[in-house]
Symmetry: C2
Subunit: 331 residues, 2 copies
């Protein structure tokens, strides 16, 4: 496998060691070597915010542990959720006496392990609640939103609940805000060429030379349609029309946008894609507030991207605009 690694058995530990060492002013290890927490916690009375997730998607989620963002991240093996006892350690580290929210991206392994962790944490007397996150419109039809997968648009929730919990929201208000953000977010991904799985050393999917997939998941889950690669403009219009057919953004005055790169698509292309998204939204009279363009949720060096939209109201906009700081967050 053509990756710069040490032993396959130590990928995650080596990565975390390097990450914490590089960003020691912002993050540190928690009570377990697979838990990353904020280096400086002055959080008495704050609602805690944590996520458990498989690794291989860097910089998410550990890159967003920081001020006004996540309090903790429980890190699993590559593309596999962390075990319940690791998530419990994460929950404990994000318990500041005001309740803790465990974000769960909707994938079966994440759900199963999170549910077990929540039971165990409750037995320890921690007021922990989960918020299930889903946004990928290609994974279940309109009307069955709760069956959908988590995709890069779930990062909107990290940012907005990170700001809200820092700002003194209690747990009920935070959960309600997080659910609103989820319900107002839609994401659709496009795959261009597969990355190599560090688990198998093999491409994560296959796709003909001049074709792309519309609607692929963040672990290379199959898309819904194959098409000729075409121009950036054509591809973006198809993605945006699908998103607009799924949620009534047409009547929104303001949205924010994430154009996320899957790992092997250049920033040059992502800017071109963003330009087309901006043109499409302008044509619909919709204003974009502080968009994000970059590689946040990767699938190794997969070439591809996704577009996520979030409807904005005053509350969301306020939390979106508040300053946040983590090693790989930039707005």
């Amino acid at each position: 496998m053509k990756k710069i690694l040490n032993s396959p058995d130590t990928i995650v530990d080596d990565m975390l060691t390097g990450y914490v060492s590089a960003h020691s002013t912002t993050v540190k290890f928690g009570s377990h070597p697979r838990v990353i927490v904020r280096a400086r916690s002055k959080n008495a009375g704050k609602v805690g915010l944590i996520i458990g997730n498989g690794s291989g998607h860097e910089p998410i989620a550990m890159g967003w542990v920081g001020e006004g963002l996540l309090d903790a991240n429980a890190v699993g093996e590559i593309f596999a959720a962390p075990a319940p006892h690791i998530i419990v350690e994460g929950i404990k580290s994000a318990d500041f006496g005001a309740g803790t929210i465990l974000l769960v991206s909707s994938h079966s392994g994440d759900i199963i392990n999170s549910e077990a962790a929540i039971e165990d944490a409750k037995e320890l007397g921690i007021d922990v609640r989960s918020l299930l996150m889903y946004d990928d419109i290609s994974s279940a039809p309109k009307g069955q939103e709760a069956e959908r997968r988590g995709a890069p648009g779930t990062t909107f929730i990290y940012k907005i609940l990170g700001a809200a919990t820092e700002h003194g929201y209690d747990i009920d208000r935070s959960i309600a805000l997080g659910a609103k953000v989820r319900d107002w977010t839609r994401t659709l991904g496009v795959a261009v060429a597969p990355g190599i799985s560090p688990l198998t050393g093999k491409p994560m999917f296959s796709i003909p030379k001049n074709e792309i997939y519309i609607g692929i998941g963040v672990h290379g889950e199959p898309g819904i349609r194959q098409r000729a690669i075409g121009s950036a403009s054509d591809v973006v219009v198809e993605v945006m029309e699908n998103i607009f057919a799924d949620f009534d953004y047409k009547t929104c005055e303001e949205v924010t946008v994430l154009v996320n790169g899957s790992g092997g698509t250049t920033l040059m292309e992502l800017f071109i894609i963003y330009g087309e998204v901006a043109k499409f939204l302008k044509n619909h009279g919709i204003r974009i507030i502080m968009p994000m363009v970059g590689e946040l949720v990767t699938t190794q060096e997969t070439a591809g991207f996704s577009i996520s939209l979030l409807r904005m109201d005053e509350e969301i906009k306020e939390m979106w605009s508040r300053p946040s700081y983590a090693p790989y967050f930039h707005l």
Copy 2:
């Protein structure tokens, strides 16, 4: 070519349109559509800092136009320096009455076009001086440092002169500081697999399946040695030993480090690589101050990385530590 683009003729313009649109609170177009400047200039009396460079290496350099960083970036075609008249527009936009520094990464096209631009700008009465930047130890032997290419370690100069000029340094003091940073920086790159040139649609170089190149340039210029891929630890030790043989970091108390990804290497790998660099430096009793790990200077989706070291003294450390803000700067 499997990239998400519109016409090949509009790549750079489309990219700049998307970039400026996404980051309109920080950057805007200058007096020419290929010049990017800071959105808010309150710079009367500040020494201006500008670079002209070929595109295709995003986020550098336009992604580092911002507060405490670059005042302007003149953007060329892909892998080609901007024409003199574009650089002149950039110089004019970074002229705040205290002189302007044009950073020049040492590549023949950059040098030729910059020299012509400087002549023209001087005729307009602007006090502009150039600072030639070079750091790639694979491109000329020790003792012939001024013959070397510019490589990712040149970004140390952007940051430190960005902070110094913001902090009130005059042009002579700024040039002297920039030269010191250059003279104390060494970089060595490693290539794993080629990216696709958007100009030709073809891989930018070729390399056998289980081999890597040590010492490759940021446009895919040939390396100096081919070797089996090996472990991250092995590869990093070879790179670090080469760097240590070239500059006497052994006696330094403090350095900063950049582990730069070339575009197609995962952040997972970059963290593992950084961990090995940190181990190597710790074994030599050298402390690392605020390192950077990420994709700053890319060669499209080329897989590979480089390691850059900068010796720190109190002046450099102070400027390195000052807050800076640009869309794709994070420390």
